[in-house]
């Protein structure tokens, strides 16, 4: 019991630290720029019958969210990074990034991730899409922890481009082709 208490207290303190972190929406406080955005680029490649997805997040923001959710420190993109990070990432994305293609939920494959400076990019693919009549994207990444989070979705289908700016009050974008 003693032991348990000790751990949970420590955990609690950690949690407290993050709670303080997340209630700020720092646009007002910062003269140096810090903005909460993610970019999700979606392209339907007709020749390959595949939907290619690249989603980029600021590592800092994603780290705060994952740490909060799991109540531990993942040390993203450092040599102390958790061994099972791949799993954690996949799990997070499956919960917070959802695709519906031709009105049916579509599963994507996790191709991989790369770190680039302060960004992490995830490569996801939905194969075997014979024809794209409609695509709906629900992106709830990071909005729980950052009130001002803006998730930008750029969709490219042949010559057609569309950009959605998703926020906490608007988490879905739908595109239909006749």
């Amino acid at each position: 019991m003693e032991r348990f208490l000790l751990i949970s207290k420590k955990e609690f303190m950690k949690y407290q630290k993050y709670v303080i972190l997340l209630i700020i929406a720092p646009l007002l406080a910062f003269s140096v720029h810090k903005y909460y955005i993610s970019l999700c680029e979606v392209e339907y490649v007709e020749e390959k019958k595949s939907v290619q997805i690249i989603i980029s997040h600021f590592i800092d923001d994603l780290e705060i969210t994952l740490n909060n959710e799991h109540k531990k420190d993942f040390f993203l993109a450092t040599n102390k990074e958790a061994k099972n990070i791949q799993e954690i990432y996949e799990d997070y994305l499956h919960k917070h990034l959802k695709f519906t293609i031709n009105q049916k939920p579509a599963q994507y494959q996790f191709i991989g991730k790369e770190y680039d400076d302060d960004l992490v990019r995830f490569y996801l693919e939905i194969p075997n899409v014979q024809k794209l009549n409609s695509i709906e994207i629900e992106n709830t990444c990071l909005i729980k922890d950052f009130e001002d989070q803006q998730n930008i979705i750029k969709i490219k289908v042949k010559k057609f481009n569309k950009t959605f700016y998703l926020t906490k009050s608007n988490v879905k974008g739908l595109l239909k082709f006749q």
């Binding site: 709670v19 406080a29 003269s31 991989g112 490569y123 693919e125 930008i152």
Partner: protein, 756 residues
């Protein structure tokens, strides 16, 4: 001989006109239009020059600027987090105008219960509400912020009439203040200091679990607004985002704090012996010769000792600051203070850092060194840093600048560990905020109106300073392509850079990153560092301690470089357009001495025979029916017509230096993007060697959609890439190569993933 050539030349011109007419099919009456050229001069956008802001972009001989001096007595009440002040303001009317009233800024009123800042911002419910926030927002217990004005009196103690409109206060003058006269008056005020960790504010105090507070006090006293001949009184409200427009002046300030506090501020301490211990004072003096490394003025041990208890006695710090546009200070028991001297051509400037133990080891390792580096790089780009010190204060989650002093976030975790991102963030924010000493503290543009003039210009020099400090952590290669994501976004979410700061979408990208990327591109790619640096320095020197406008910047950059950049300012600053240049078509030509069909047609049209054409060479496209395999590999000098000419006109020596192209490429560039930009082309040859050619932006003068160039080459080109180093913020690189690269970023990654 000469005559024939001339005749033929005019034929060529005539013929192209004829072609154009032949292509006109329908007789639809076309509408006229205004000059819509992307190269049209900015005369209609820029204000008419005058004797204050001249056509060259320099201050004119009738340029005037008001001066405002402040004498203030401040009391910081740590017990109750309140601040009290009495100030004597001396307003010098250096303008040629008589003034009926003065406008004074009351920025703290943004935090008053009746503040309109919250009223104007929309949005749905928050993700979560802390009890404090909930009570504040919904239960009628708002924070009692904002100025309480005790009195406003003239020098004789008579009350002055005044009116407060949100964050602005009009003080009515008993009689008009004539040109060249001064007016002295007194204001007494106080306010409750906000907990900036809770209300996400700019300045306030940070409470620590040990019961101590760290104060960062700014925009804390009624300050005069700017009066000039550009805006009259600059009295746009302070909504919390767009910053300040202030007059220069001298400050004589005394601040009373608890006896165990350590404090630094804008200006120089006048009574170090009274506020420091004997030991600290000795270190304060000796630090002035420590040029190689930071040394402590207040040691970590002293700070640790001070934060253990609370002394209720007080002491008074006396500061004097000359020719500054504002005054700010920071105070806490928790402060460690280190210092290093920086030499500017024989003049010593002090780099100071004040931080709580929570900032270590990050702060003692980097802060003061970063300040010194920033001052050096910025001084090289502008003028020698003119103030006696530059101070960086560690205030969590802040990044805010004032003359000589700034607040910067960034701390290691509770075990003192930090990763590269934390370190990078901290070095970045210190460089940025210390850099603001130059823009806008000294080159004093109107921040309330034009955020880009301080944030954008500062973010640009910041890139150079960070790179100097740590090129690995801050590589230059990410500029200007870092702005592509923003510029290719939905047009509904973009505003031109030339938009008042409060009306801007995506503030960070619009007012910081885009102007910085633009200036970076101007320096590296369009003007070249030599030309750019001279012009940029000219701007900084011309407007040092003055109030420049955007036009002064645009005009000076051209005035000092003899480069017409109106097209760049127009596109990058006045529109939301982006750049996309592609290679549409590549045709290979060979040389022949046999007149081509095109040449025959030309002769026919003017009633001469092919033989009557002057001796000439002709280019044949590989895909035309006139092309025969024997032309392949023929050198131009294989043809007698050229050979004879060379024999007659050049010595053997000269001939040796002549190039001998074998192939001729017709390159068609198209431009789906709105902006005009130089075309940077990289040619890769069969043998693997590479060559670059940069066509100036003016190539788009007469055709905004497509241009064609002929490129002679002695080797076969295997690959052509436009903007290979991503120097022009091209938003779509899928059309940047020939042969066309159909591989997406995704395909590349996937391929490597499988390989790896």
């Amino acid at each position: 001989m000469k005559k024939i050539t001339l005749a033929i030349l005019s034929l060529v011109f005539l013929s192209s006109t004829l072609f154009a007419q032949e292509n006109t099919q329908e007789k639809v009456r076309q509408k006229g239009h205004y000059n819509s050229s992307k190269f049209k001069q900015l005369d209609e956008e820029l204000p008419t020059p005058n004797k204050q802001h001249m056509a060259s972009g320099a201050p004119g001989y009738e340029y005037t600027q008001q001066q405002v001096d402040y004498k203030m007595t401040i009391i910081l009440d740590d017990e109750n987090q309140k601040i009290f002040g009495e100030e004597t303001i001396t307003y010098h009317n250096n303008s040629k105008d008589a003034l009926d009233y003065l406008w004074v800024q009351l920025d703290q009123n943004m935090r008053a219960p009746n503040s309109k800042t919250n009223d104007v911002s929309g949005g749905g419910p928050d993700a979560l509400y802390t009890p404090a926030k909930f009570t504040k927002m919904f239960m009628g217990k708002p924070f009692q912020g904002g100025f309480n004005i005790d009195y406003i009196k003239d020098v004789n103690g008579n009350p002055l009439s005044y009116m407060i409109n949100f964050t602005m206060m009009r003080v009515d003058l008993p009689k008009p203040l004539a040109a060249g006269e001064k007016f002295i008056f007194n204001i007494k005020w106080w306010y409750n200091i906000n907990d900036y960790m809770a209300d996400r504010g700019r300045s306030g105090y940070e409470p620590f679990p040990d019961g101590n507070n760290l104060y960062i006090i700014a925009q804390f006293f009624p300050r005069l607004a700017v009066y000039n001949n550009v805006k009259g009184w600059q009295n746009l409200q302070f909504w919390g985002r767009s910053e300040f427009a202030l007059e220069f002046g001298n400050y004589d300030v005394s601040i009373t704090t608890p006896k165990d506090h350590i404090l630094n501020a804008t200006g120089v301490i006048q009574n170090p012996k009274e506020v420091f211990t004997k030991e600290q004072n000795k270190r304060y003096e000796s630090s002035k010769t420590s040029f190689d490394k930071p040394v402590f003025i207040v040691t970590p041990e002293e700070a640790l000792e001070a934060e253990k208890s609370k002394n209720t006695a007080t002491k008074t710090w006396k500061f004097y600051a000359e020719n500054v546009r504002d005054f700010a200070f920071s105070s806490s028991r928790k402060f460690i203070w280190d210092a290093m001297a920086v030499d500017f051509n024989g003049k010593t400037v002090m780099a100071y850092s004040l931080y709580p133990k929570e900032g270590n080891p990050l702060w003692e390792e980097h802060s003061t060194r970063v300040i010194a580096n920033t001052l050096k790089v910025y001084s090289e780009s502008t003028f020698d840093y003119p103030y006696p010190h530059a101070t960086s204060i560690n205030a969590e989650r802040q990044g805010m600048e004032y003359p000589m002093i700034c607040w910067n976030g960034g701390r290691p975790d509770e075990n003192g560990k930090y990763n590269d991102r934390t370190k990078k963030g901290m070095i970045g924010v210190i460089t940025h905020e210390v850099g603001h000493n130059f823009f806008p503290m000294i080159v004093n543009s109107d921040e309330r109106e034009w955020t880009w003039m301080d944030e954008g210009i500062n973010s640009f020099v910041e890139i150079l300073a960070e790179y100097k400090y740590d090129p690995e952590l801050f590589p230059l290669s990410k500029y200007p392509k870092n702005i592509v994501g923003y510029m290719s976004g939905d047009q509904d979410q973009l505003s031109p850079i030339m938009t008042q700061g409060d009306n801007v979408f995506n503030f960070g990208s619009n007012a910081y990153a885009k102007p910085a990327a633009g200036l970076f591109m101007l320096r590296q790619t369009i003007m070249g560092p030599e030309m750019f640096d001279h012009a940029f320095k000219t701007y900084a020197k011309r407007w040092k301690f003055k109030h420049p406008t955007p036009a002064d910047f645009f005009r000076t950059m051209e005035d000092a470089s003899a480069m017409d950049l109106d097209w760049f300012w127009r596109g990058w600053f006045y529109t939301t357009g982006n750049n996309d240049i592609g290679i549409k078509e590549v045709k290979k030509y060979h040389v022949t001495d046999k007149p081509t069909e095109q040449a025959e047609n030309l002769a026919k049209r003017y009633g001469i025979t092919v033989d009557q054409l002057p001796p000439s060479l002709y280019l044949v496209s590989e895909d035309s029916k006139e092309y025969t395999d024997d032309l392949k590999g023929k050198k131009p000098e294989d043809y007698t017509v050229l050979n004879n000419y060379l024999q007659d006109n050049f010595s053997a020596e000269e001939k040796a230096t002549l190039k001998a192209p074998k192939y001729f490429y017709e390159l068609v560039f198209d431009k789906p993007g709105d902006l005009v930009m130089p075309i940077i082309v990289e040619f890769e040859y069969e043998d693997g060697s590479k060559e670059r050619k940069q066509y100036p932006a003016e190539i788009w003068r007469l055709n905004d959609n497509e241009v064609t160039k002929v490129f002679p080459s002695s080797k076969v080109i295997s690959k052509i890439t436009i903007d290979p180093d991503e120097e022009t913020a091209d938003v779509d690189t899928s059309n940047n190569s020939w042969p066309k690269n159909t591989e997406t970023q995704f395909d590349n990654f996937k391929k490597n993933q499988i390989k790896g």
